[in-house]
Amino acid sequence: MQSPLRLERRLTQPKWLNWGVPLLSLLGALILGGIVLFATGKNPISVYARIVERGFASTDAFSRTLISATPFAFTGLAASVAFRMGLINIGGEGQLYLGTIGAAFAGIAFQDQPTAVIIATMIIFGMLFGGAWAAIVGILKAKFSTNEIITSLMLNYVAAIFLDYLIFNSSSYWRDPKSYGFPTGKRLTKNAYWNDISIGSIEIPFGFVVAVVAAVIVWFLYNRTRFGYEVGVIASSPNAARYAGIRARWKIITVMALSGALAGLGGASDVGDFRHVLDAKGVQISGYGYTGIVVAALARLNPLSAIFVAVFLGGLSNAGYALQGPDFPSGLVGTLQGLILFTAVAGEILTRYRIKRQNTIADGVIV
C-alpha cells in the first residue's frame, strides 16, 4: 500500500501559486483538449491557433470577445462572492434570469425617462430581482440549515419556468401583445439601450465597464471593510465567529443576496447591452450562470482576476461561434471549458498540498 509519492499539506502558500497554478491548469486543459482533438482527427495546434486568431488577435475580434465576456464577468463575480464565505451558490443562472426580468420591467416602465434614469433603474431592478431570488436560498439556509447547493440549483429550474411563463404562457407585462405566431417580449425603445464606449477601434460594452467597477467594489468590500473581515472569519472558522459575536445567519442571507444581485446585474446588462428585450429562450441557452462557476474557480475567487478570466473564456466562446462548422464542432468550446474547470479544481489541491517523495522531513514551524 506504500506509494513512493504522497501529498503533504503546505504550511505556507507561496505567492507564485496564485498565478502559477491557474496557468498550469490551463496548460493541462489545453493538452487534454488536444488529445480529444487529435482523437477526432483534427490538428490541435491549428485549431488552437484559429481560436487565438478569432478570439483575441484583432480589435474587431476583441470587441466581440468583450461582448461574450460581460455576462461571464458578472456571474463569475457572483460565484466568487458566495464561494468566499463557503456558500456554494450554483444558482447564478436563475438569479441572472430574474435580473433580466427586473431590468426589462424597468426598461419598459420608464421608457419615457432620460437614458441615464432608465439605465440606473434597470441596474437597480436587475440587482433587486436577482438579489431577492438568491436571498430565498440564504434565508432557507440560515433558518432551516437547508443545503444551498440543492436549493439554489432547484431555483434555477423554477426561474426558467417562470421566465417561459411570462413570455409564452401568459399575457404578462413583458409580452409583446403584437407578437403573433411566436410570442416575444416587448422591445425596449432606443433610449433604453446601453451604448458601447469606444477606445480607439475597440468597442467596450457599457455592461463590461459596470462589471469592472463592480469587481473593484467587491474587492474593496472583501479586503478592506468590516463586512469582508467578518465574512473571512466565518468562512475560516465558524467557532471563532461565534466566539467573536459575529452573527453568521445574517451574513449568509446578505452574502447570498449580494451574490444574486451581481448575477442579476449580469441579467440587466444582457437586456440593456445586447438583447433589448426579455428573450426567454435566448438567455436560457447561453448558460452564463454555470460558466460563472468556472470563472470563479479559475480566478481563485479573486474578483479582479475574475474579470481577466471572463475575458479569456469570452474569447474562447466568441471564437467558438465564429469558427463553428464541419471542421470545428460546436461542442468543442464546451468541452474545453469543462476540461478547464476540471484541471482548475485539481490544481487547487496543489495550492494546499505539495507532492513529496516518501520519508522526507516536513518543514519546521517558526519558533
Partner: protein, 502 residues
C-alpha cells in the same frame, strides 16, 4: 503489556507502561486526561504500534497490525463514540464486516446467536430494532454484543459510563460482572473513582504516561486512588502575588445558572459563584463535567436556561457575546486555534477580532490597515511574540506564541473578568511560566480571573480559591490555603469529603 513506549511528535504518551490483566477479572485503568489511558488501549487493540515494548497474549508475544486482527485474537473494544450504522438493525450492525462465503447475509441464524448471547449475559436488546431507535445506553449494549459475537475474550471499554445515566451504569456493571464470571476479561478505562471501586477487581493507575501502581481494589480506598491519580509528590510553588485578592469587591456574580450541552442534555445545574477584584478563582474538575459550558455561558456564547450573570453589579444580557465583551468579560477558550483565534488568518487580523467594530481600528466600516499594523507591531514587541512579521498566519506559530497572541488581545481589551480555560495545556515549560506570570499580572492589576483547568498543579500554583465541578454542579468551594490534593482529587472523582474515612 510490557514496557510500552509510544511517542507522538512532541509528547511521550506512554513511557514504559507495564500492564497485565488476568482472565476473569475487571481491571480498571485509572488516570487523568492525558495520562496515556487511551493510547495504551489503542496499542493493545492494534490501532497504534508501540515504539518500544511488547504485548503478550496468554504468554505469547503478539503483534497486531489492526483492530480487526486484534479482534480475531479475542481483543474487542467499545469506544466512547460508537461505531454503528444508524439505519441498520442491531443484527445487521453486529454481523457487519463478517467474512462470508455466500452472497447473501444469513441474518436469521445471526439473530438466533445474538439472542442467545443476549440472554446469557442479561443484555436486553431487540436484534431487529434499528440503531436510531435506541437510547445511548442500548447502543452501548449493541457494541458489547458485537464484540462478544466476534468472540472477544478481552473487552476494553473506554469511559463507558460517560454517556450513561446512573441506572444504565448499574445495569452495565451487572453485565460486566456476568462476563468475568464466564472467565472473560474486562478492561475498564475511567477517571471516576467511585465507579472503579464499584466494578473493578484490580486497578492500574497511570500518570503522565507512566504506570504508578497496580493494586487490588479490596485493599485500597477512593482517597488513596485519588492521591495516586493526581500524584502528590509533585512539588508545586505558589506564585507570589503583589496585590492581595479582594473577594468582597465582587466583579463577577454568577447566580443559579442552568444550561444544556450541544446535545441538549443538562450540563450546568444551578451554578452560583462570585469572583472578587484581583482574585483568581480556579475550577477544578475532570473534563466534560460542564466546565466548557460554564465558560461559554459566562462569555455569552451559550444561552443559560435559567439564572443571571452580572459584571460589576450589572446584569449582562443572556447569550449575547458582544454585550458580554463590552461589559468587561474576556474569554480565553480551551481551543485556541479554532475558537479563540482564526488559524489561517494573520496575526494582525487575529489581534483585531474583538476590536474591529469601532475606532480606532475601523472608521465608517472601513478597516484602517495602517493603524492595525502599527498596533500589531507594538503588541508583538510588548508580549514578545516570536514571528518574522505581523502578517504571518497564526497556524505557523508555536503553541506558546499562539497563546501569547490570544492573551495579548484579551489583556489589551482591559477586561474586568477573564475566563481562562486550560491556558497552558500543550505548552512547554518556558511558555507555561510566561502565561502564568501574565495571568498573575492581570490579577494584580485588578482583574478577576476564573481559571478553568484540569491541571491541579497549576490550580495550586495560581488560585486564591478552588471550586470543584462534578456533573454540572459545584461540589466544593475551598480557599487554596486550606485545600490539599487528596481532597480536591476526591471531589473531582465524585466522592464527598464527609465519606473520606471509609
Amino acid at each position: 503489556m510490557n514496557g510500552i513506549v509510544k511517542r507522538f511528535p512532541g509528547v511521550v504518551a506512554n513511557d514504559g507502561v507495564n500492564f497485565e490483566a488476568r482472565a476473569g477479572e475487571v481491571h480498571a485503568l485509572l488516570g487523568e486526561n492525558g495520562a496515556g489511558k487511551s493510547t495504551l488501549s489503542n496499542v493493545l487493540t492494534g490501532l497504534y504500534r508501540p515504539d518500544e515494548g511488547t504485548v503478550s497474549l496468554n504468554d505469547e508475544v503478539v503483534h497486531f497490525d489492526s483492530p480487526r486482527i486484534a479482534l480475531e485474537r479475542g481483543i474487542g473494544m467499545v469506544h466512547q463514540h460508537f461505531r454503528l450504522v444508524n439505519s441498520f438493525t442491531v443484527a445487521e450492525n453486529i454481523i457487519l464486516g463478517e467474512q462470508s462465503s455466500s452472497l447473501f447475509m444469513d441474518t436469521a441464524s445471526a439473530v438466533e446467536r445474538i439472542s442467545a448471547l443476549a440472554t446469557q449475559y442479561g443484555i436486553a436488546v431487540d436484534p431487529s430494532a434499528r440503531i436510531w431507535q435506541l437510547s445511548v445506553g442500548e447502543q452501548q449494549r449493541v457494541e458489547i454484543l458485537k464484540a462478544l459475537y466476534h468472540g472477544a475474550k478481552v473487552l476494553i471499554l473506554d469511559e463507558p459510563t460517560a454517556v450513561l445515566t446512573p441506572q444504565e451504569a448499574d445495569a452495565l456493571f451487572t453485565v460486566l460482572r456476568s462476563m468475568v464470571a464466564e472467565g472473560r476479561t474486562v478492561i475498564f478505562i475511567s477517571h471516576k473513582l467511585d465507579e472503579v471501586m464499584a466494578v473493578a477487581d484490580r486497578v492500574t493507575v497511570l500518570r503522565a504516561g507512566k504506570t504508578v501502581s497496580t493494586i487490588e481494589c479490596a485493599t485500597t480506598s477512593t482517597r488513596e486512588l485519588a492521591r495516586l491519580m493526581v500524584g502528590r509528590d509533585v512539588v508545586f510553588d505558589r506564585v507570589i502575588r503583589a496585590n492581595h485578592a479582594k473577594p468582597d469587591n465582587i466583579v463577577l456574580q454568577v447566580s443559579n445558572i442552568d444550561a444544556t450541552d450541544d446535545r441538549g442534555r443538562q450540563a450546568l445545574k444551578s451554578i452560583s459563584l462570585t469572583i472578587g477584584e484581583s482574585e483568581i478563582v480556579a475550577i477544578a474538575g475532570v473534563a466534560g463535567n460542564g466546565q466548557r459550558e460554564l465558560a461559554e455561558v459566562i462569555s455569552g456564547m451559550r444561552p443559560a436556561t435559567r439564572g443571571t450573570i452580572a459584571v460589576n453589579n450589572e446584569v449582562v444580557p443572556n447569550s449575547r457575546v458582544r454585550k458580554a465583551m463590552t461589559a468587561g468579560i474576556s474569554h480565553v477558550p480551551e481551543d485556541r486555534l479554532h475558537t479563540g483565534l482564526v488559524a489561517d488568518h494573520s496575526i494582525e487580523d487575529n489581534l483585531i477580532l474583538k476590536s474591529y467594530r469601532g475606532a480606532p481600528i475601523s472608521k465608517m466600516s472601513v478597516l484602517r490597515r495602517r493603524i492595525i499594523r502599527a498596533q500589531a507591531k507594538e503588541t508583538i514587541e510588548k508580549y514578545d511574540v516570536k514571528t518574522p512579521d505581523t502578517i504571518t498566519p497564526i497556524r505557523l506559530l508555536s503553541g506558546g506564541n499562539v497563546q501569547k497572541v490570544l492573551l495579548a488581545r484579551e489583556f489589551d481589551s482591559l477586561p474586568s473578568v477573564m475566563v481562562v480555560s486550560s491556558p497552558t495545556r500543550g505548552l512547554d515549560v518556558g511558555a507555561i511560566e510566561n502565561v502564568r506570570k501574565r495571568l498573575v499580572d492581570a490579577a494584580d492589576s485588578g482583574v478577576g480571573v476564573l481559571l478553568i483547568s484540569e491541571d491541579l498543579e497549576e490550580i495550586f500554583a495560581l488560585a486564591d480559591r478552588i471550586l470543584v465541578m462534578y456533573e454540572g454542579s459545584i461540589v466544593g468551594n475551598i480557599p487554596a490555603a486550606e485545600a490539599n490534593r487528596e481532597s480536591i482529587g476526591l471531589l473531582m472523582g465524585g466522592g464527598s469529603l464527609s465519606a473520606e474515612n471509609n
